[in-house]
Subunit: 432 residues, 3 copies
């Protein structure tokens, strides 16, 4: 009974047009051109490498796409249990009509050719969006992105601020900020001016959010202009080797300033909390980051209190932080739960995390899912994975356990999948 | 099959008379007088506020009960997914005969009138207890409560000690302690005397437990009389602004002394571990507390070793601490698992936490549930929520997974719900 | 449907011959000789003690086995809900043909006699292995074990290194190391030589792994020879009372050296992370250890990066660390998930931990289970517990949720149960 019910709920969710509120899509090349773009996704390369495939096999200079696919196909068997592999199977089946069981390390070439032909069609990206039921996807743009050359109502700009908060000691980066703003950045004041100018640019170009990923050790706090000025001087002179207290102070100062700008420009500020970069030094590209799960949202107490007018869609990397996230969203009006991120983006974690949120966080404050994808083809299997889990939780915990009607459950799921995304990142945001 | 089985187990549990071992009931006005008492519970006000309702709307001076209910009813829709809202639906249906779907922001007035009439009946509190199958409820009394004017076998006194441990820097509070004991408290010695006198008073009046809620940072340790005397001097002179080490030392000293008194008077000491007070400064009344889940029961190592003769019913605020709780209760004879507290008092957390305890902690050392309620009407839906989850866990993990008979499962559940409460807080406790 | 499916999967898993990759079996007396060996297992004594049984009752000098069993049988009722008790029931039923319900505190003597007769058969250990479908079990040998007098292909040596890393301040222990190696250990250099000699001895005698259990505070790091020499001098002179920084430095030095030897000798290094020893000082034998769940695998970042050539099968004591374990095994080629340890070795934790691993860690990098047993009889019920949970997870999350065939699920489970054990600890390991 429960299985049939889950299928009905899933079918409803899967029939709706959605907006994906966080991706890493490049709007100039949103879709894949060969299977190498798909199997080159870090989930496959890092899992294959973890299972024993040599990094040089994957990242060899001048490697042709077809050869890269051949090599990776030969190394997928040890990871065919993972949910990430199931995304591959679903993409292959849905986009290229190849049944899941029939692709192997021996006959992948047919698939390669079929898929390459399809991907070379001029409207391939539109086909993928349509089939994936995605109406728009949010981007994650560098601060100096000109935001030109695409339809920003489909590929919605979002200002990524990691570089500004954590990498200002890099002179090239400061140079990029100067180039993007035509300002000479000589002190904290001109730095603030430059960042403000970038906000104006982004909001003028339909940006709907600001985003940042944060290490577990980060504790936002208000830092005085004077303290920031001292830090700035040291960092400009000493670069990366400046005392860590200066790096911390300047980062906190810029973070706080960015939050003020989010308030001024009415932008939600996506906080993605908990990642340690570069933990596995010899890992493959994008396969080096891990985390320390000993992080607490209490570190954000001052921030959440200081900015009641800013909406913070919060993602946590480790599922052990999910109860805190649910509790903080239950108490703080400006904290919103946001999707299921990275290492917590697998069915068993989504199931328990979504269940905890659904029973204690107001329904209007939960953003169900985002794909985090780099290529459009991943939207379909990732969203479907989430919709299946959502259907399971609603079927078991609301319809069966609590006596809800199916239509109530569908309404709730739909609000998480679509309604809240529209409202929270919605058209109300203006550059006034 | 499992659903039917769960219903049968639930029906058994729901037919039994219970004792609620932890509430915040005021024995002089135990039940609600209008719906405003029910919807004024912090779960509704904080969730409505979190979902966007202005705090002033809720806490306006001189707000009439009926107007308060009107305003809250207009703001419940965004939280109708929460388990807390389901408590409201169940109360309305069970106590006032109004089916769940029929109360809305538009027609709540009929409900208001019906419920007000019922609540004005002189035996309303008794009716509620009877319908809720509660034979007695434990209170949480201030140290200077005279404990007079009610039947202490139904409303059982329990000495709350937060003030004594954490707020002695408040001169008014010290004054209240002097007034309650007729002692002049001039030093640590007279302080100890005064606290001892309060224990005598409580035990003479049928108190069955001592209780305290503790922040994540608290680490009980034995502090010497001399160190405590130094802290006392500083705190009496400097009040709140005394060095935090003095506050900590005096708090630890008093906590240890209270535990010794629990030993002397044979009182269990309820430890409720993990709350940070006042995190959301602008929150509604009682809606400001959150937590840092990075707490460990290892902080209580010295305490549990030092007092083998004291029973510690332990509650943890965050579900991530539940495995530690289960493990400590499995090893330490004096540690008992106690209910499902606050942010962990929702079905999915209860389910996983109860399952972990049931499979590894001796059955005699588990107190199934307490309501933590402020008004009697909440006992019914809260206990039923627990009984449903308990039935689910026993059905799925004992009857189906492990081949237990239904009657074995019912016996185990009953022991958690009733037998252990009677024994652990039982009549053996005397003032000798 | 799901229950039948689970049973079929379980039956498949239970029909296969396995190798148990971590036990504390004494190869000279691998099986029990009376029921007192079984009920004397710390799980029963500590749970009975926790439920109120006096420690002296259990550990009285000169207590006869039969009397010990009589006393324990009289104290099992309060823990008959635990999964540990269910192991007892299953052993009694499978090995001695006594149905589970029929043994009580009143009629245990028949069971005692029946079991004693069986256990006195000369091939009892072989019978138990056969019935338990165990082909070989790994041991946990002290560094000075001569490794003589048994078939090391059935009872496979494994070098336990806790003593070398954490107890070198004990002069007797240093004496044992000298005796075992015929070396005079006067400095760090001769210490290294002695440890190296022990590796040679172990590998010559078919050792397949090195193992260590680690406290939550441990952080492996490379320590210079000079710093280690300073620590060594202090520790030899001052013993246990040497500054804790010297203890830490020497422990880290030895740990790093042991890891280098694992690399040299191609031995996997089992890391069992998270135990605090002696927390409950008055606990029964082996019933004193608990933990602080605030541990992170990020503490092992330097180690995992420094030794890509060493395989680390990692066990974590607390289930809250399981997601980190799954993520680190997903990223680091040399990190492998290893079983379900101690306080996390109960069905609900196994279920959630195994599910998280199965969906995100390459199948080739998961060692399903080890028993950790002290007597052979426990292999059967412990492995069966795991196989039942594995069958449940595969049935519900792979066959039903993800559409896998039963045979695919059986293959995956079999790989975890057997294939990976053979390969990871396999015959490739040589002393070259």
């Amino acid at each position: 009974m429960s299985l049939e019910l889950r299928k009905r709920l899933f079918a409803e969710f899967d029939s709706q047009m959605l907006v994906d509120p966080h991706t890493h899509i490049n709007p100039h090349t949103p879709a894949s051109t060969t299977l190498a773009d798909i199997l080159g996704y870090h989930y496959y390369t890092e899992l294959a490498h973890s299972a024993g495939m040599d990094k040089q096999q994957i990242e060899q200079d001048g490697l042709e796409p077809q050869e890269k696919v051949r090599r990776l196909m030969a190394n997928l068997a040890p990871l065919n249990n993972t949910i990430q592999y199931s995304w591959f199977v679903e993409m292959v089946s849905e986009f290229f009509g190849v049944p899941s069981e029939s692709v192997t390390a021996d006959n992948w070439e047919t698939l390669y050719d079929v898929s390459s032909r399809k991907m070379s069609q001029s409207d391939w990206a539109q086909q993928v969006l349509r089939k994936s039921k995605l109406e728009a996807v949010f981007l994650t743009n560098d601060f100096d992105d000109p935001l030109e050359g695409w339809d920003t109502s489909v590929y919605v700009p979002c200002l990524r601020t990691d570089d500004l908060v954590f990498r200002l000691s890099d002179g090239n980066l400061r140079g990029r900020l100067e180039a993007a703003t035509d300002l000479s950045i000589t002190d904290v004041g001109t730095l603030e001016q430059a960042i403000g100018a970038r906000f104006e640019h982004f909001v003028r170009n339909n940006a709907r959010a600001c985003a940042i990923s944060l290490p577990p050790s980060f504790e936002p706090t208000r830092v005085s202009e004077g303290r920031a000025a001292t830090a700035w001087t040291h960092i400009c002179q000493e670069g990366e080797s400046a005392d860590s207290r200066h790096h911390r102070a300047l980062g906190q100062f810029v973070f706080w300033r960015i939050t003020e700008l989010c308030a001024d420009f009415h932008l939600p500020f996506d906080l993605m909390i908990g990642v340690n970069r570069g933990v596995y030094a010899d890992g493959v590209f994008q396969g080096r980051d891990l985390y320390d799960s000993r992080v607490s949202l209490i570190q954000y107490e001052e921030l959440f209190n200081a900015f009641p007018q800013v909406t913070f869609p919060v993602s946590v990397l480790a599922s052990v932080t999910n109860q805190e996230l649910a509790s903080f969203a239950w108490i703080f009006p400006n904290v919103v739960t946001n999707g299921h991120w990275w290492y917590s983006n697998t069915p068993s974690f989504i199931e328990r995390d979504a269940a905890a949120r659904l029973e204690a966080v107001p329904r209007s404050k939960q953003i169900g899912y985002y794909s985090d994808m780099y290529k459009l083809e991943f939207g379909l299997p990732k969203f479907r994975m989430y919709k299946r889990v959502l259907a399971k939780v609603l079927a078991e915990r609301f319809v069966l356990d609590r006596g809800w009607s199916e239509s109530q459950a569908i309404q709730l799921g739909t609000e998480l999948l679509r309604g809240n995304v529209d409202r929270i990142f919605g058209r109300e945001a203006t550059s006034d």
